[in-house]
């Protein structure tokens, strides 16, 4: 009884509660749900055959293939980087540690367009390296290597920032125990550390992959938009849209939206089932 009464003073009247829920619902409906539903409605506006034609177009397939290729290169590299950075930062003490942690987060606070720009300034035609690269026939800007580099830049922090807080919280006693029992360094990593961090690692990979496949600004600056060659899926969506080919644009966009939904579902499942194996998060 007493508990019930105290709970009652620490909450709001039912009318206020439902008004707050309704207000939040309206906000999320206008800004989240309707855009999401809109993608699929627009994608099927011309019917299923037109949808299938749009996503089976050779240019669409080339764009999807390039997007998958770029993600297959950049995500594993950022996984290796994330694990190495988290190992160095959480298992050892060294001067400049907090600076290093700040630098790892830097790509999140830089506009994707600026991320693309810095690569153009470094490898582009008018740059210091430009003439040398041209002499040796190496194309970076307006070619696939530039797209990969820009994607790695914008997705660099994802894995590291999932692992660092978790490994910090887990400490190093388990590793020290394994090593003092005679395990080698690699054995300790594969058999002790990796099982402890696998869910957080998977979580980081999911977010990293979603961003790698969806990146637009940075890739747009370095790609040069050569159809069938340097058009990633998001860039192809832009081209179709700007050509007023709305149904096809939304059809291809629906594949990316589906990827986002699968990512969200997998991420939520990880949080529900293995929440204890993930770092406490705020922001993203």
């Amino acid at each position: 009884m007493a508990l019930e009464a105290s709970r009652r003073v620490a909450t709001e009247a039912p009318t206020v509660r439902w008004a707050a829920i309704a207000l939040m619902g309206a906000f999320l409906l206008l800004f989240l749900l309707m855009p999401l539903i809109g993608v699929f409605v627009e994608a099927f506006r011309r019917g299923v055959p037109a949808y299938l034609d749009a996503i089976r177009d050779p240019e669409a397939i080339a764009a999807i293939r390039l997007t998958v290729t770029v993600a297959l290169i950049s995500v594993p590299l950022n996984v290796v980087f994330g694990v190495a950075a988290a190992w160095a930062i959480t298992k050892f003490d060294f001067p400049g540690k907090s600076l290093l942690t700040t630098l790892i987060d830097l790509p999140f606070s830089i506009s994707p367009v600026i991320a693309g720009l810095v690569y153009v300034l470094l490898y582009g035609a008018g740059s210091l390296l430009g003439p040398w690269l041209r002499l040796h026939g190496i194309e970076v800007i307006f070619a696939v290597p530039g797209i990969v580099l820009a994607t790695i830049f914008v997705t660099l922090p994802f894995v590291a920032r999932e692992l660092i807080p978790l490994m910090e919280a887990q400490g190093k006693t388990e590793e020290i125990a394994a090593l003092s029992l005679g395990a080698s360094g690699w054995q300790t990593f594969w058999k002790v550390t990796l099982p402890n961090i696998r869910w957080a690692l998977l979580y980081g990979v999911l977010l990293c992959n979603a961003r790698a496949m969806g990146e637009f600004g940075a890739v747009s600056v370095v790609s040069g938009h050569i159809r069938g060659q340097t058009n990633t899926t998001p860039l192809y969506v832009e081209i179709l849209y700007n050509e007023y080919n709305f149904a096809a644009a939304f059809a291809v966009a629906s594949i990316l939206a589906l990827l986002a939904l699968v990512t969200l579902a997998a991420k939520t499942l990880l949080e529900w089932r293995y929440g204890h194996g993930l770092a406490r998060r705020n922001g993203h």
């Binding site: 309707m34 600026i114 637009f216 993203h284």
Partner: protein
Amino acid sequence: MAAKGLRLRTPKRSIIPGFSLSLGFTIAYLGLIVLIPLGALVLKSAGLGWQEFWQLALDERTLSALRLSFVTALAAALVNVVFGVLTAWVLVRYDFPGRRIVDALIDLPFALPTAVAGIALTTLYAGNGWIGSLLGEAGIRVSFTPLGIVVALVFVSLPFVVRTVQPVMEEIDRELEEAAASLGASRWQTITRVILPSLLPATLTGFSLAFARSVGEYGSVIFIAGNIPYVSEIAPLLIVIRLEEFQYEAATAVAVLILVISFLALLAINLLQAWGRRRLGFGA
């Protein structure tokens, strides 16, 4: 005592292996992907010299693009402060059908590629779109105006405030509210005087994350903005336009201005937060 302190400070050789390997790889990777390319930007802007830099910076079109970017980012971050706190409140405190799905959906803007969000919002808020046509009858135009930019930025930065405030709300001690109520505070007084102040630091963090993300956002904005110079042309787009004109110096100047102004704005927010902590004794 002194000897003990000294021993703690001298780096003890850890038995965990891989320090040089992991730290070396981390620094090399970070250097190649982030630091050297950013160095190219610094080098390029230093090569401009003060006079040329200011000439480019004070260009009317540059100034109006920067003003638009920062004002719309501020507006979007403020909208997200209001609705972000409301959403976090409702998700933590109230039970309603579909709560967990709504909670999972909050992260959609992190997972959905910005270009997809951009074309979906444009279609929705265009004069003949589902929402745009309703607003049109009320005489409000959204697409191709600064208001449209705010709509896109609200979408992309929506999760930040929710996700920073939510964990803090979960930790709030209910007994504090019960104490306030038993001392005769009305529910409204308890909310405004007890709960909201304790959410302020997290809200400010969420605000600055949303603001920083919005300033640099490109993909979701360029479709709905219409990109009319002096009216709805954002600063990141101006970088892309200057690059397409091969005016690398002008592009660099805009990028440096975005970075410097964002840095100063975030510094101001951090100082405000530090001041608040000292002055009012809030936790971080």
